[in-house]
Amino acid sequence: MPTSPSAIHLVLLAILLFFAGAVLPMACGRRQRLAHVMGMAGALAGALAGLPAALLFLLTGQTEHVQPVWPGTGLQFALSVDALAAFFLLPVFLLVFCCALYAHRYLDLPSRGGRAARHWFFFNVLAASMALVVGAANSFVFLVAWEVMSLSSFFLVVHDLGDEQARRAGWLYLVATHLGTAFLFGLFLAEYRLAGSLDFSSFEVLRGLPPSGALVFFALALIGFGTKAGMFPLHCWLPEAHAAAPSHVSALMSGVMIKTALYGLLRICTFLPPLPAWCGLLLAGLGISGSLYGIALAALQPDLKKSLAYSTVENIGIILLGIGLWLYCGATGHPGAAALCLAGALLHVWNHALFKSLLFLGAGSILHATGTRTISKLGGLLRRMPVTGILLLAGGAAIAALPPLNGFVSELLIYLGLIKAGLAAAGGQAFVFMLFAALLALTGGMVLLAVTRLLGITLGGEPLSEMSARAHESSPSMLAAMAIPALVCLGIGIAPQVPLALLAKPMAILAPGSPNPAAVIPLPFNADWSLVALLLTAITVFGLFLRRRSRPQPGQTTWGCGFSRPSARMAYTAGGYSQFAQDEIYGRGPQPKVEQPDRLGFFPALRRFHREFRDPVLARWFSPLFIRCAGLAHTCHRLQAGQMNIYLTYIFLATVLLLGWSFLW
C-alpha cells in the first residue's frame, strides 16, 4: 500500500463522500430542505473527487491497489483500479454528477418532497456501490457491492410506493436480479475452489483451465451478468423497472448500472483462457437479436420511458455484438477486426451512457412538466420547452447514430470491424460477418422509426392533451444536468480521436498486443474538412439569405387538406405512427394483446377496447415457466403438513437414509 496519496485514494474518497451523502440526510430528521442539500452535496462532491482520478488512470494506464484497514475481521476490503475499471468508473462519476444535479429540482414535486432523505440515502449508496463493484479487487467485495447495488436500485425503483406499476416492476426486478446473482455466486465460488483465494489477482491460474471448464465459467458469467445487463432474452425486468423508476434513477440505471455487468463480463474474460470461436458467435447472435427485438418493441410502446428502456435493450445488444465479435474475430485470427469491434463496443458503452441518460433526463423533464409519460398525450413541447427539446433532439440524433454525434462513431467502428473481418474471411464465415453488418444496418433504420416517433410526436405538432398544453420549461439546474451529456456527445462525435486515445489502455488489458484502433482506422478521417466547413457555411448563409428575403406569414393554421377546422385530435398519434411497421414488417412477435369488444348483439352492452403491451419473452417464455415452477412447488407443499409427527418421520427417514448411505459406501 503506497503511503503517498495517489489516484486511488481519490476514488476511495469519492466512495466515502457518497456514503457521507447517504448517511447525513438521514440524520437531518424532518428538515427536508437540509437533507436534500446534504444528499446532493455528497453525491456531487464524490463525483467531482472521482472524475479526475478515473481520468488519470485512463491516461496513465497504471494499476493501484489499496486495502483499507478493517480491524477485527479477517476480510480484506481490497480495492484495485486499473485502466479497464477506470474506463467504467468515468461514466459512473460523470452521470452521478449529472443525475444528482438533476434530482435537486426534479424531486421538488410536492408528492415526493417528504421522502428526500430516503431517496438520497439509496441514491448515494447506489453511487458508492457502483464505484465499489468496478473497483473491487476480490470476489467478496465484488459480490457485496453487487448486492448492495441491486438492493439500493430496487428501493429507488419503488421510490413511489403508491404506484402499483412501480411496485410490480420493482418486484420483477428484485426476482430477476437475484436469480442472476445466484449464477454469479456459483461463478465466484467455483473460481474460489480452483484458485484457492478470493482475490482477482489470484484468478490468473484459471488461464490454465481446459476449454470445457472455461465454457462453464463463461456460461455462468453470461447468465449472471447478462441478466443484469439486460441481455436478450434475460432483459424482461429492464423495461418495467426503468419505466417505473424516477427519471434520474432510470438514467443512472440505464446509463451506468447495467454497464457494471458488462464490466464484470469483460473482467471475467480476462481471467479465462481463450474461448472457442462459437462462444463469440453466440454472444454476437444474442446481441443482434436483442437489438432487433429491443428496437422493434421500442417503436411500439405507448409509454415514453418504456420505449427508451427498450432502446436500452437494443444498445446493450449492439455492445454485446461488438464484444462477441471481438471474441469471435480473436479466435478465428482477425486481430485488426477484433480490435475495431472491441473499440466500437467499448466506445458504445460510453456513448450509450451519455445519450441514454440524456434522453431519460429529458423524459423526466417532460414528465415533470406535464405529469404524463404517454406519448400520445404529449405533443407541441418543442414550443413550450425549447431548450429541453433541443437537448432531446440531440440525444435522439445521437442514439440513431447520426453524424456528427457520438453514436455514429461507435457504430462506424463496429461496422468497419465487421466488414474488415468479412473481407479477410472466406465463404460462409465471411457471409456471417456481412450478415451481421446488414442486420446492424437494419437496426439503424428501425432506430430511426422509434426515435422519430418518440421525439416527433412529443415535441412536434399540437399538444394532444391539456397536460401537454400547460407544460413549462425545466429549471436551469435540470437543463444543465442534461446539457453536460449532450455536449460530451457532440464532442465525441466531432473529435473521436480523443476518446479513442483513452480507449487504448483498457484495450491493452482486454486484448494484450492488439493493434490500436486508431492505427487500423485513421480517425479523424483523413480528409480535407475545411472545404466542407466552407460549403456548409455557404449553404447556411444561403438559407439565411432566403429566409431574410422572404417574409414569413405566420399565424395560419396548418393546412388541413380541405378540412375546415383541423384539430389536435386529428393529429397522428404514436400508435398510428408505428402501426404500419407493426402490422406489415415486425410480424406477430411483438404484437400487443388487444381485447376487442364483443360482437354487436341485439342489446348493446358496455364494451371496452383495451390493448396491453407485455414483453413477449416474459409473457410467452418466462411467465409460463415460473407458473409451472410455482405449481410444482405447490405440489411439494403437501410435504409440509404442519403436524409434528410427520416431521419426526422425515427426520427419522433422513437418519435412516444417511446411515444406510454411510454404511454402503
Partner: protein, 303 residues
Amino acid sequence: MTNFLLHLLLIFGLAPLLPGVIARTKAVIAGRKGQPLTQLYRDLWKLFRKDLVLSRTTTWIFRAGPLIGFAVPVLGALLLPFGPAAAPLSFTGDFVLYVYLFGLARFFTILAALDTGSSFEGMGAAREATFSILVEPTIFVAFIILVRISGDFSLNAMFGAVGSGKLLQSPTAFSLILTAFCLFIVLLAENCRIPFDDPNTHLELTMIHEVMVLDHSGPDFGLILYGTAMKLLLSSAMVVNLLLPVSGNLLLDLTAFCGALLLIAVAVGLVESAMARLRLIRVPQLLIGTTLLSFFGLILLLR
C-alpha cells in the same frame, strides 16, 4: 479542388434536369408534349423569390428540415465519385457516413413533417420511416458487395474497382448486375417514384414523400425540391458508377457519365409509364424481396 468544383457544378447544375427528363419521357409515351425540360429550374427560381406561409404550430425545426434536406445531398455528392471524377472527400469507411448522412436528412424531414401536427404529414412521415427500414439494408449490402470486390473501404476505391470496364468479364459480373438492379429499385423507392409512390398526385392518401411536405411553401419548398432532385441524381450516379466503364479520357468519360445519368432518368420515366403504383401493403414485400436479392448477390460473390 478541381474535383470539388466539378462535383458541385454537377450536383447543383445537372440535378434539376433529371426530373424534367423523367416528366418529358412520361409525356412522350403518353402522347403529350410535356413540360419543358428545364421546368424545375424555373420553378426553383420562382419559389426562391416567393414569400412563405408558416403554420402557427410550427417551430424552428419546420424550417430546419428543408435546409438539412438540401445540405445533405450536397455533402453526399462530395463523398460519391461521379464516374471518372473521384470524390473530393474520401476516407476509410466513408460509405457508412454516406448512408447515415441520408439518415440525418430523413430524421429532420420527418420531424419537420410531424411539427405541423397535420394528420396527413404524420402519415407520410410514418411511411417514410417505415420504408427506410427496409431500404437501408439493401444499400448497405450493395456497399458490402463493392467492398468485397474492391478490398477497400472508401467509395472512391469501391466504385473505381468496378468502373474500369472489367464488369462483364469478371466472375463478379452477376453480383454486380444484381447490385445495380437492387440499387435501381432503391432509387425508385427512395425518390418516391411510381411503383412505390406517385410524385404527381398531391393529396392522395397513399403518398409518402409528397404528403410530408404539404405545408412547406416558398423558398423552403424550393429547397425541398432542389434537395429531392439532388438525391435523385446521387441515386442515379450510384447505378451509373456500377455499370459504366471508364475509358481514361476525362472529357469523354464525363460526357458519358452525364449521358448515362439522363438515360437512368429516361429509364425511370419508362418504368413510371409502364407500371401502376403498388398497393401500400405490397411495398414492404417488394423492398424485402430487393434486400434478399442483394443478399443473393453477396452469396454469389462469396462462394
